[in-house]
Symmetry: C2
Subunit: 492 residues, 2 copies
């Protein structure tokens, strides 16, 4: 069994004066963060929190939340970060499933569901008296490190079991791909309760890089932070790139990599970003793989435009159909194996059995590998539209439509149809008021087979997306009756 | 169990055109090396070599040897590199212990011991016909990867069981410490049959860096290679640094790190190297830890002069006495734990039991940790001299003596003595013919306690060292009768 000395304390020993965490005007060196975390870990130990105890937290975006994450790690406890956007009714099944020893909150106004679990306010916890600060620890790679509840686009949230080892390997995969530079500085603008935001915290202490925690994304302020804090690394979703490109300024000079995740990225967006000097690279990953496992290096652009990149070492990716691997070029379900793949779903043996097979994770995504092992993700299996026996991938259609100058945002989805089984529908946010569905059909007719061209059009003000930027296609499907049809053409 | 796609093939997929191997005028890209290795692996498979078969090889320093190492790795076979300096009588017990399926040789003149093992000449093997090249493989981290026989300064060689995982973790430890830069280029001047030279080959394919294989160390030619090939990384033993510093030229401009290992380095040497612009950093490691596990970053110099550095993540180091850990500052035996620590000694359960304890490696080295976790290695346990109940560490005395301008090289060792148990002897290579033992005693008297000052002096032409640069103290002890005493002073 692999073990490791506590990561944060390690960095405090070798780089005590290096900046570890920045939040607005507040700054902590690794030595200072280590000391604050040692204090908090000591207090939590006095509260009886120990090895593999589950501690849930619902906290505002704050350096104290970062400290709590490191303190729980040092204690060998299990982090259960709760999504602050969820309503009490949505949170209740998560708390019931995680059944935490303790819930830490920030005292903000929230109608906690009555689950009978003990709650404490973080500020009061930190003001508590302390017997002994806790500086060192041995981390066991096979221990559970976090339960991250998937913000899946459908169904009940599942608690993904992230181990200590998963965090480590996720950090390694990133470093092997992106390189490790001793003075890297991350701008952290992802939610702290998602795997993407959580892994940045642990990459930082494993690699010794600085985290600059932004209060939230604001294109003007965030751009200013990128420059002022000499940011070299950034994780973003496509919307953020869109907004940064709306600004006039040059790409921030120290930014060496902007990892684009969350939702499939249109090649046109990446192309625009590159033209403006933003080193944006597509990635692929999910909660079950402890974030990014596939990255397209900048040097592969535009040769492999549309690819999410090559799996990071030592990730193995296979394309499967009927439980057999397919050769290069063939489309099937993406299966993934590697030491960053989660153990299963907490307290959910049925979902675990369905998704995790003999070391392999069935991602539910559809794609193919090219002969050099580069992955092209086509779509979610469940989002695939089957029209008269033909498979249609919504994201393929969307990627063409966003290239139309009159389209600001777009989502393609299937609707039930007696004749075809399903038909292709599209919701469009227009930037040109004169645009008509006929224009879009004409635009697509040279680009796509006719069966892929949407036959049902909706004009909407915004596309519903989750916190990661993924289109909520189920929401669209459910809300068609409330949306105004733009036009309809049954002949397509 | 952790698995990985074949490392070399991975690099060939993502960086096909990057240089992988350079030897004089010959150059291979990763795609070219991958193809040559695929061919050789296919031939070896036709010969029946498969998973966990042990294949010994005694080969001249050549790119073909590198290809063989990668081909065996791809097949899941076990590399048994044989030290080309050993005499047939020295090799025999190693071959008997390893009991290989096949021995690969280069056809050079060598009186092979008659052990009954099948031998083949590499050139003939490579000229053989081929059914099918072998491009891909799955590497299992728990499989044995190599048996590296220790060039211990005493005793029978032991086959250190290096696993595939050990190689991986060794590469990770290096990368986390030194950083990973996408275009790193290693100058490889270490023996390929030692762990230090072997690990460079696998770091290269795990990190995607270039290996420039030198025929051997020659200060003028090697300096030229450092500049011409834009070398950024280098592993050296102290003698090589000495010789490079004898040259007039500036430090090679692309060299970002020269890892100093093999023998304890005198702070004076490192200081001189730094003054000349060579970024030399002390390291600590051994065959049983799959090479370097502790590194002193340049920024710690001269604050922690004399330290070998901080353990790389996730290595755990303890200082032990009577099976109990000692606090910071206390001197004891160095114990090491981590996923790069070897599994044991091949076919030698007794030595395995003595050295490997419950995940910990008893290094047999003496040292202490400072309060920040930095390691100071004092000496080998077995080299320690006990004079009248006082412990004396030869390397401490040597490090002072090499600082004397009239001393070119020096070795301190113990000799049996009825009165004191042991007395301190020294063999000196002088650079100033006028130097006398009295000068050295005076020089030391302000620097060391009197009981540590050598009382027996020999003048020698050269200090006997092994291939790693380690002083062969046992040889010195055995040869005192053949050495001319320089003077003797029983009063000390």
């Amino acid at each position: 069994m692999v073990q490791s000395p506590d990561w944060l304390h390690y960095q405090a020993e070798i780089h005590p004066q290096r900046e570890a965490l920045i939040f607005g005007q507040q700054r902590w060196t690794f030595a200072e963060l280590d000391a604050d975390v040692a204090r908090l870990a000591g207090i939590l130990a006095d509260w009886g929190i120990g090895l593999q105890h589950r501690v849930a937290y619902r906290l505002r975006r704050s350096p104290e939340q970062v400290m709590l994450a490191h303190a729980l790690t040092r204690l060998g406890a299990v982090l259960v970060p709760l999504n602050t956007r969820l309503k009490p009714g949505e949170l209740e099944p998560i708390i019931q499933n995680a059944d935490p020893t303790l819930i830490v909150e920030d005292g903000s106004d929230f109608a906690w569901p009555d689950t009978g679990h003990r709650r404490i306010i973080l500020e009061e916890l930190m003001e508590g008296s302390l017997a002994q600060p806790l500086f060192t620890a041995t981390l066991n790679f096979e221990d559970l490190h976090a339960l991250v509840y998937t913000s899946g686009t459908t169904g009940t949230p599942k608690g993904v079991e992230i181990t200590v080892g998963n965090q480590w390997w996720s950090a390694m995969g990133f470093g092997l791909n992106a390189g490790l530079e001793p003075h890297d500085r991350w701008l952290h603008i992802m939610p702290l309760f998602h795997v993407g935001g959580l892994t940045i915290l642990f990459r930082s202490v494993i690699h010794g890089s600085t985290v600059v925690l932004e209060e939230g994304f604001d294109q003007v302020r965030t751009y200013d932070t990128l420059i002022r804090e000499r940011i070299s690394l950034l994780s973003v979703v496509p919307t953020m790139v869109h907004r940064l490109l709306e600004l006039d300024g040059d790409a921030p000079p120290h930014l060496r990599l902007a990892l684009l995740g969350g939702a499939p990225a249109a090649p046109a967006l990446i192309e625009r970003a590159h033209q403006r000097g933003y080193r944006v690279v597509p990635t692929y990953g999910m909660t079950e793989t402890c974030s990014q496992i596939v990255t397209l290096e900048e040097s592969e652009w535009p040769k492999r435009a549309g690819s999410s990149g090559h799996p990071n070492l030592p990730v193995d990716v296979r394309i499967m159909k009927d439980n057999r691997p397919l050769p290069a070029g063939k489309v099937g379900e993406i299966w993934v194996r590697g030491p960053m793949v989660a153990r299963g779903y907490w307290n959910n043996p049925q979902a675990t059995r369905t998704t995790f097979h003999d070391g392999w994770l069935r991602t539910g995504d559809i794609g193919y590998l090219d002969p050099d092992g580069f992955l092209y993700v086509i779509d979610r299996l469940r989002d695939m539209i089957i029209r008269g026996g033909e498979n249609i991938y919504p994201s393929e259609v969307e990627q063409h439509l966003v290239g139309h100058p009159g389209v600001s945002d777009v989502a393609v989805f299937g609707v039930q149809d007696e004749e075809w089984g399903q038909r292709v529908a599209v919701a469009v946010v227009v930037s040109d008021p004169a645009l008509t569905p006929k224009d879009l059909r004409n635009f697509l007719s040279n680009r796509l087979a006719s069966y892929k061209i949407p036959s049902i059009y909706y004009r909407v003000d915004a596309i519903p997306r989750n916190a990661s930027g993924k289109i909520l296609r189920a929401t669209l499907r459910d809300q068609t009756s409330a949306m105004t049809k733009w036009t309809e053409n049954h002949d397509l």
